[in-house]
C-alpha cells in the first residue's frame, strides 16, 4: 500500500466523517471536536487499511499494542457512560463489536474479510443511528446546545465546582458529556457539572438557571421528536 492509498483512506474517512456528522449533529460541526475526530479517525483508520492491503507486512504485536493504546480511552469512556449512567448496553456493544470486526480484517482471508468489514460498518452505523435518536449523547450537539442555553441567562455570576442538582425527572437514565460539561440524567433528578474554564467561556452564567435551562432544552428537544428521556 503506497502513500496515495493512505491519503485516499484519509480522504474517504473525512468524507464519511462530514457526511455522518452533518446528519447526526444536524449540521453543526465545531472546530475543536472536528480536529480531535479527524486525528483520531486518521490514527484508527490508516493502520487497519494498510495491513488489510498488505497482509504480508502484518505485525500482530505492534497492531494489538497500537489499537489498545488508541481505543482503550474511547471504549473506557463509553463503558463508563453505560456503567455510571446506567444506559442500555446496546450502543456500546454495537460500536465495540463493529470496531473489533473491522480490526480483525487483516488476519482474515478474502471472502470473510469483506463480510467482516461490512458487518463492522453496519454495526457502527447502528451506533450512529442511536446517537441520532438521542442527540444529547453526542458531544458535538451537546456543546452547541450548551452554548445556546447560556444566551439568555444572567451573566458574571460566581462559580462552584460542586454539581448543580436540577429536580427534573427522567424516564430513562443516561450520562453524557462535552468538553468541560458533564450531565447525568437520573430517574428523579438531573446532575449538571461544569468546569471552571467552561463556565468562564460561557460568560460566567448563573449556574442554577443555566443548568435548569440546559436540561429543559434537552428534554424539549427529545420530547419534540417523540422520544422519551
Amino acid at each position: 500500500m503506497n502513500l496515495l492509498s493512505i491519503l485516499l483512506v484519509f480522504l474517504g474517512m473525512l468524507i464519511l466523517y462530514f457526511g455522518i456528522h452533518l446528519v447526526i449533529n444536524r449540521g453543526k460541526i465545531k472546530f475543536d471536536y472536528l480536529v480531535i475526530a479527524i486525528l483520531y479517525s486518521f490514527a484508527i483508520g490508516v493502520p487497519v487499511a494498510y495491513y488489510s492491503g498488505s497482509p504480508d507486512k502484518f505485525m500482530p504485536v505492534f497492531y494489538v499494542i497500537y489499537y489498545t493504546v488508541f481505543l482503550l480511552p474511547f471504549f473506557g469512556y463509553e463503558f463508563y457512560k453505560c456503567f455510571r449512567g446506567r444506559q442500555t448496553w446496546g450502543p456500546f456493544l454495537l460500536i465495540f463489536i463493529g470496531i473489533i470486526l473491522i480490526l480483525l480484517s487483516p488476519v482474515l482471508e478474502h471472502p470473510v474479510k469483506f463480510i467482516s468489514i461490512l458487518s463492522g460498518l453496519a454495526l457502527i452505523s447502528g451506533y450512529f443511528f442511536h446517537l441520532f435518536r438521542y442527540p444529547h449523547l453526542n458531544a458535538m450537539w451537546l456543546a452547541d446546545m450548551a452554548k445556546k442555553a447560556a444566551e439568555n441567562i444572567e451573566k458574571d455570576c460566581r462559580y462552584s465546582p460542586k454539581p448543580v442538582i436540577v429536580t427534573t425527572p427522567s424516564k430513562k437514565t443516561s450520562c453524557t458529556s462535552a468538553i468541560g460539561l458533564y450531565l447525568l440524567f437520573k430517574k428523579n433528578r438531573s446532575i449538571v457539572r461544569m468546569s471552571k474554564d467552561f463556565h468562564q467561556k460561557l460568560g460566567r452564567p448563573n449556574m442554577e438557571e443555566y443548568a435548569k435551562e440546559l436540561v429543559k432544552r434537552i428534554k424539549k428537544k427529545t420530547e419534540d421528536e417523540g422520544k422519551t428521556l
Binding site: R158, S160, K162, M207, E208
Partner: protein, 181 residues
Amino acid sequence: MIDLIRILGSEHIFSIIDFIQKNPGQNASSIASSLNIHTVTVQRALETLAKYSFVDVEEKRGVGRPSRNFSYRGGKLTIDLNDLFSDYDLKNDIIRESGNPDISFSYDVDKETVNAILFGGKKGNKIKLDVKTGRFLWLVPPPDSKGETIENICHEAGVPLIDAIRFCLKMQELDVLEVIR
C-alpha cells in the same frame, strides 16, 4: 448542648455512668465488653460527657494505639432553653453556596454526597463530612441562585433540623455557605 441531651436520653447511659463510677480509669472497649454494649455507643456517650466535663479522660500511651481511660466526675447541668432554641428560628433562612474560589469539594455523583470540603486545593486543609451532612451539602444550591430554606433541604436530605442549622452556621463561618436572612 443538643448532643448532650441526646446522649442523656439514650438507653444505656445509666449503666455506663454506673459502671465508670464503680470502675474508674477504664477505656471504652473494656466498658463495652463488660456491659455487652457496642463500643461505638459507649465511646460516643463518654466523649460527649467528657466534652461537657462530666467525665475525666486520661490518655495512656504505650504499645499500640493510645488508650483513653474515663473516670466519673459528675456535676450540675443547667439548660438554657432560650439559647437552645435560638437557632431553631433559622430553619426558614435561605442558604446557598458562597462560591469561594479557594474552596473545592470531593464528592460522589453516584451516592449524591459530598465526602469532603477542600480548602486551598488538594494540598490544603480538608474537612471530612459524614454521610448525612455530605448529603445535605450536596443539595445546597449554587452561588447566586435563589437558594433554598434549611428546612426544605433537611427534609430532602433526611438530616435532623437542629443538626443542619448548626452545620450551616459552621459552614457560614468557613465561608462555604451563605445564609440569607
